[in-house]
């Protein structure tokens, strides 16, 4: 994959998506169905990403103990409403320590 094409296309696409909102008439938003779908889109996308990042290794399901333990610890931190940075540190620390011990 050409990473440069990916980086520049992502940057251009993201900027144009933001700019488009300032250029289109706000009437589109009056359609409640459109608004609801755009609200739900990140929910579906993020949930799928959680599963893929926790369990996939390329095309395989991989039950990697330290990775899953770190993720589980991070999930508990999210559930306890810990700040984002604490979630990140807890997940990394648990995975790293178990890997070190194993």
């Amino acid at each position: 994959m050409n990473l440069w094409v990916l980086v520049l296309a992502t940057a251009a696409g993201c900027y144009l998506l933001k700019l488009a909102g300032y250029l289109v008439p706000a009437r589109v938003l009056d359609e409640p169905r459109v608004r609801r779908l755009v609200e739900l889109l990140p929910v579906a996308l993020l949930a799928a990403l959680v599963v893929v990042e926790a369990l996939a290794s390329g095309r395989h399901l991989q039950w990697d103990g330290p990775r899953l333990a770190g993720f589980a610890a991070g999930a508990v931190a999210v559930w306890r409403r810990a700040p984002f940075l604490a979630v990140v540190v807890i997940a990394a620390a648990v995975a790293a320590l178990i890997r070190l011990a194993g």
């Binding site: 994959m1 990473l3 094409v5 990916l6 980086v7 992502t10 940057a11 993201c14 900027y15 998506l17 933001k18 700019l19 909102g21 300032y22 289109v24 706000a26 589109v28 938003l29 609801r36 779908l37 755009v38 739900l40 889109l41 929910v43 579906a44 996308l45 993020l46 949930a47 799928a48 990403l49 959680v50 599963v51 893929v52 990042e53 369990l55 290794s57 390329g58 095309r59 395989h60 399901l61 990697d64 330290p66 990775r67 770190g70 993720f71 610890a73 991070g74 999930a75 931190a77 999210v78 984002f84 940075l85 979630v87 990140v88 997940a91 990394a92 648990v94 995975a95 790293a96 890997r99």
Partner: protein, 234 residues
């Protein structure tokens, strides 16, 4: 009194900016671990400047996905910023060059801080201060994370592979707390992704589960609007 208010808005915006900006470290490290260079990583933070998209793109790259799946996952997630921009446009009242600057700063946090204020002047103040403080912090910490990860070597040794799914869960959690429909959609997407991982190339599970649920959602809402129009009881 008014001066006091303005100071409060600026203080809150700076607080959010520093707290949110700090997790650019996690993005910088994840991106270098996925195989992007330090320069490519920093350019994503400088130019794309929308955290969820950036994590999604490097996540798909790390999983071995194609350019097409990485880009479409990223842009799908970035499409919510269009909605934010439409919501903010009448409040910010920007024209000319300032509109191009405002567009770049239209992300989750700057929108949230702006819409939380009733007074349009305070909304504008919150938007610009939140945008600027996150932009500065996010880019400094991205560079630090990228350089740090490059110096440290194998990211799994430091548990960074566990950080990425935990970070996505942290972004998802506030949306799950808003309603039952959100929780159903999330559970459905997770199951579809899980089933598709061994069956499809990397990147496809994420796109397919999102598309399937959006389709289901739009069919459901058109069915209920038909019912509403016919005036029949549920």
């Amino acid at each position: 009194m008014l001066e006091e208010n303005r100071r409060g808005v600026v203080r809150d915006s700076l607080g959010v900016g520093v707290a949110v900006g700090a997790y650019g470290v996690a993005f910088g490290a994840a991106s270098v671990a996925a195989g992007l260079s330090v320069l490519q990583t920093s350019l994503l933070s400088l130019l794309a400047f929308t955290g969820g998209t950036q994590f999604a793109v490097v996540g798909v790259v790390a999983g071995g996905g194609t350019l097409g799946t990485a880009l479409s996952s990223g842009l799908l997630l970035g499409a919510r910023n269009t909605l934010y921009a439409m919501r903010l446009a009448p409040t910010l009242q920007v024209g000319g060059l300032r509109r191009f600057a405002a567009a770049h700063g239209t992300i989750d946090e700057s929108t949230a801080m702006a819409v939380a204020r009733r007074d349009p002047a305070m909304s504008r103040l919150a938007f610009w201060w939140t945008f600027t403080s996150i932009y500065v912090c996010w880019n400094v910490t991205t560079l630090a994370g990228a350089v740090g990860a490059q110096a440290l070597g194998d990211p799994a040794k430091f548990g960074l592979d566990a950080v990425v799914p935990a970070a996505f869960l942290a972004l998802l959690a506030p949306r799950l707390r808003t309603g039952a429909a959100e929780r159903r959609i999330a559970a459905g997407a997770a199951v579809i992704a899980l089933v598709l991982i061994p069956l499809t190339p990397p990147g496809v599970p994420v796109l397919a589960s999102t598309a399937a649920l959006l389709l289901a959602g739009s069919l459901r809402s058109s069915a209920s609007s038909l019912r509403a129009r016919a005036g029949s009881p549920r």
